[in-house]
């Protein structure tokens, strides 16, 4: 039960690459690390989930929190690299309809 969080800040966007499991134990760490990047105005945050093997509803809560925070600050959130299982989670919860979600990770920015 662990997570690795890698943040790459560029001029126009912040890319956060996650690997491991996002559950009740690791979600607080993710929230603490990622939240500050969503609080800047007009921030563009891309989160790469290709390395995420498991996510539960607590993890989902973190993404909704980030999404709300970015919306409030007129920023954007994009999730990339979702596995089928993760995609299903976003579909069931209706979040796939309001969030920018892509199952393919974007290469070489």
């Amino acid at each position: 039960m662990n997570i690795s969080i890698d943040v790459r800040e560029q001029e126009l966007q912040t890319t956060i690459t996650l690997a491991g499991e996002i559950d009740a134990y690791t979600a607080p760490k993710l929230r603490e690390t990622a939240f500050p990047y969503t609080e800047k105005q007009y921030a563009n945050v891309v989160i790469d989930l290709s390395g995420v093997s498991y996510m539960d509803s607590t993890g989902l809560g973190v993404f909704v929190g980030l999404f709300k925070s970015l919306n409030a600050n007129e920023g954007t959130l994009k999730l990339v690299g979702l596995s089928d299982r993760l995609k299903r989670l976003f579909d069931i919860t209706g979040l796939a309809d309001i969030m920018n979600i892509n199952s393919v990770a974007e290469g070489g920015v």
């Binding site: 009740a24 929230r31 498991y54 539960d56 509803s57 607590t58 989902l60 809560g61 973190v62 909704v64 929190g65 999404f67 709300k68 925070s69 299982r85 069931i92 919860t93 209706g94 979040l95 309809d97 309001i98």
Partner: protein, 336 residues
Amino acid sequence: MNFRDTMLDNYKEILKTYISDQTEQALYLSEKFSRKLLECKVSPEEMISLHKTSIMELEPDLPESLLLSLDILLEVMMAYGLAYREHQSLRTIQRELINEIEVAASMQQTLLGTQIPHLSSLDIGAISVPAKQMSGDYYHFVSHENGAISVAIADIIGKGIPAALCMSMIKYSMDSMPDDSQAPGDVLERLNRVVEQNVDPTMFITMFSGLYHPENHTFHYSSAGHEPGFFYNSEKGIFEELKAKGLLLGVDKKAKYNEYERKVEVGDVILLMSDGVTECRTEDGFLEVDTLIGYIEKYIQLGAQDIADKVYKELEYLQDFQLRDDFTLIILKRIA
């Protein structure tokens, strides 16, 4: 002999043994003695004073400077003594908090208690098992005057006490809804507005809301991002997903919830569950939907409560009796 004298005698004995011949026995005894000190809440500075008294009695010819040095040691250890006493009182507070949480957990059970309605045509079973002391899952039944039954199953994302408080809010808004707005879509839209306004922005709720009409045996349902349930078609002997689309509660106050309808025949079964059921983790990964359906199918001919209990037992066994998430399963079976 008072407590201090007993301890002094014990300690002098240990010191004497060790000074005369440095045996393991003395070390063993001092370890035992130190446990006794902790048990009797003797502080570090008291212990140094005990040491000074003992050594003065055992070795009267010790140089004055050594004895004086012990006074300084005692002074220095005072802070440790304070820290030690603080630790003691924190432990007491911790015990009190644990008790309070236990009380809160049992209050949650009482406050959120729901009565399973009795209908001659519908057999209803429910099981809800928390992974921790306080559950994030919640289900609720409401019997309406026209005979219809509302059923709701919810998962509060964000666990513990805030989630429990949130659940009470849901229960009371559901109970206080007027009888003419029973439609599941309306129920979710109302609750969504309540949750959007009142709840901490990092907390969300998934919820499945259903309404069973016993006079024409239809089941209306809507979902706010909740794990889809299953429908067992007894004539064909197949399971279908109760697909329903809708956004989590508390994300967007303008969210709309579509309503779906299903005709229920005698022998048909509606199964509602929390994600603790479908996201159940096994040794070799995740529980597959087919495996889950296999378990349900095995018991589908039983009574509703028996199906719920038996499926829970199977999944509990599969997870080695270590529940990782709250588990809730509701069964509605048309029997007449």
